[in-house]
């Protein structure tokens, strides 16, 4: 999925710049769903793979049935393959980020329910005190179900009786769903830190639980910052603004913890999964800074509908989610025990992707500032005129995307090689 997302993302960026060429073969409106669906399924699949692997270590003395996990994997992957076949045949019918025919939500829902059963059954059977990462996984998995159901309420006519209501609920579910998978992924990051540092207490402190509840509150209530300019009820906007600003506490905490993070980095930097976690930490700080700014409605007025939104979305999905998941998969695949050659290649891929992601992110922000300034401040109406200087910046974005795809691709290919080796040895069970 990651490799598909990278390839289709690259093609999409060039299709955006040169549509006259791509429209003859594979137009942007067809490429974009390939890219976004592959990215979403990469994130969700890798997160669930991690949970399925780690729960064997965490929920001990429990009765777990492998057949449920296998059923989830088979159903989930076959549905994704059908979804991509639909895209190839230009069969759509869904909404943004879920462009496939809505009937395919049904097998996805069934497979998720199977996965939930395979997670919650041993969870409820285990009588031990649960560390924070288990709470985070449980929260994320449950709320993914809730938001997935909410994603599909548009199929009920009542929810389409008003366009504003429909858009509001669409982005309520989109926003909260991101929060749900973040709970799963950050829970995984926390578990990895416990394993790497050998200190279980970091998942039991009051501070850790405080930030969990803060994240949980934001999951439930801050989604309105995606739709500040939609003319819905004012209390939706104000609730989102207030709750979004509580993320300043995360921001302050990162700054306060900076020195101890540096000490920690010196201690663990030789561990490859740790390097991915520390990269994610950096991108949390960068994207949180941006997110806090664009969550202020007065600033959002200029940034909404521009590439700054893309910078935020991609900065988070690549810089945070993907980095943590690559750390997690690296841990499962025992990357530190691999040959020096493989580790060197992963290191090369790591640095290429960090540097190119920086350029990628900054160019998107700059493109967004240009578009926002021209369309809002200068009140320019002609789309081509607004976008003319922006396209030049997007060429830099596309070029950096090539290097980003190379960097992440090197890591992904090495992981796939390791996975094939591990599958033959039957050491791990990763979809």
């Amino acid at each position: 999925m990651l490799v598909t997302s990278l390839l289709c993302g690259l093609l999409s960026s060039f299709a955006f710049l040169y549509p006259e060429i791509f429209n003859k073969y594979i137009p942007f409106y067809q490429l974009r769903p390939f890219h976004v669906s592959a990215a979403l399924f990469w994130i969700i699949s890798a997160a669930t793979a991690g949970v399925m692997h780690y729960k064997k270590e965490v929920l001990i003395n429990s009765q777990m049935k492998k057949k449920h996990e296998k059923l989830f994997i088979v159903l989930w992957i076959s549905t994704i393959l059908i979804i991509f076949s639909c895209y190839a045949l230009k069969i759509f019918g869904g909404r943004e980020y879920w462009e496939f025919p809505p009937i395919l939500s049904l097998p996805l829902l069934i497979s998720w329910l199977v996965f939930m059963f395979s997670f919650y059954k041993p969870l409820f059977q285990s009588k031990e005190k649960k560390p924070l990462y288990v709470w985070m996984w449980a929260t994320g998995i449950f709320f993914f179900l809730i938001t997935f159901l909410e994603q599909n309420v548009w199929l009920i006519p009542w929810f389409r009786s008003s366009f504003i209501k429909e858009v509001t609920i669409q982005w309520k579910s989109n926003g909260s769903m991101v929060g749900a998978w973040n709970q799963i992924i950050y829970g995984t990051a926390l578990y990895l830190m416990v394993l790497i540092g050998g200190d279980k207490k970091i998942a039991e402190t009051k501070k850790a639980f405080f930030f969990y509840f803060l994240g949980f509150t934001n999951l439930m209530f801050n989604w309105g910052h995606h739709i500040y300019n939609v003319p819905n009820a004012g209390w939706i906007r104000n609730t989102a603004y207030i709750i979004s600003m509580t993320e300043l506490l995360f921001f302050v905490n990162i700054i306060m913890d900076f020195k101890s993070k540096l000490d920690e980095k010196r201690k663990f930097d030789h561990i490859i999964p740790y390097r991915f976690l520390i990269a994610a930490e950096f991108w949390v700080f960068a994207n949180l800074t941006l997110a806090l700014l664009i969550s202020v409605p007065a600033i959002n007025r200029y940034t909404h509908g521009t590439h700054i939104t893309v910078a935020h979305a991609m900065g988070a999905t690549i810089g945070i989610n993907t980095m943590i998941l690559l750390g997690s998969l690296g841990y499962i695949l025992q990357v530190d025990q691999q040959s020096a050659t493989k580790k060197r290649w992963i290191n090369i891929g790591y640095w290429i992707s960090q540097i190119s992601l920086g350029i990628f992110w900054i160019s998107l922000i700059f493109a967004g500032i240009l578009k926002g300034y021209r369309s809002v401040k200068l009140n320019m109406d002609n789309f081509q005129e607004v976008m003319s200087p922006v396209m030049t910046v997007l060429k830099i974005f596309s070029l950096s995307g090539v290097f980003l795809a190379v960097g992440l691709g090197i890591i992904a290919i090495n992981y796939i090689i390791m996975l094939n080796g591990k599958s033959k040895d039957n050491d791990i069970n990763v979809p």
Binding site: P19, N23, E99, S161, A233, I236, Y241, A298
Partner: protein, 121 residues
């Protein structure tokens, strides 16, 4: 969880108390389906939400110099950047009907006077 459930209930029932555009008729619903079946959201935005290949279409139905007669040839024949979707005349008119309905729901662009000192609108 209880507060989340209550909040969700309020969003569903009172998220849009104005409903300026009114309940959609069959033509609007058909146009909405055309919009989704052809993945228009990949390239265009409504209220700034969607892809950035093409312009925001929230208020294209009543924008000065635009409107249905402006939209029709674009949708029917495409441009250099936008491919032709080979839509039937019925689909084209339904899609225009949908966009006219969306236009009634409000303005996508916010005016400067809406900013408050708190940073909100």
């Amino acid at each position: 969880m209880v507060s989340f459930a209550c909040f969700s209930w309020f969003v569903y029932t009172h998220g849009d108390d104005n409903n300026k555009e009114g309940t959609p008729n069959q033509q609007v619903l058909a146009g909405w389906k055309v919009w989704q079946d052809n993945n228009c959201q990949s390239c265009h935005q409504l209220y700034g939400l969607g892809g950035y290949m093409g312009p925001d279409l929230t208020n294209v139905a009543t924008q000065t110099g635009k409107g249905p007669s402006y939209m029709e040839p674009y949708i029917k024949y495409g441009t250099g950047r936008m491919p032709s979707f080979h839509l039937s005349d019925t689909d084209v008119h339904d899609l225009i009907g949908f966009l006219k309905w969306v236009d009634k729901s409000g303005q996508s662009k916010l005016s400067e006077g809406m900013n408050q000192q708190s940073g909100s609108f």
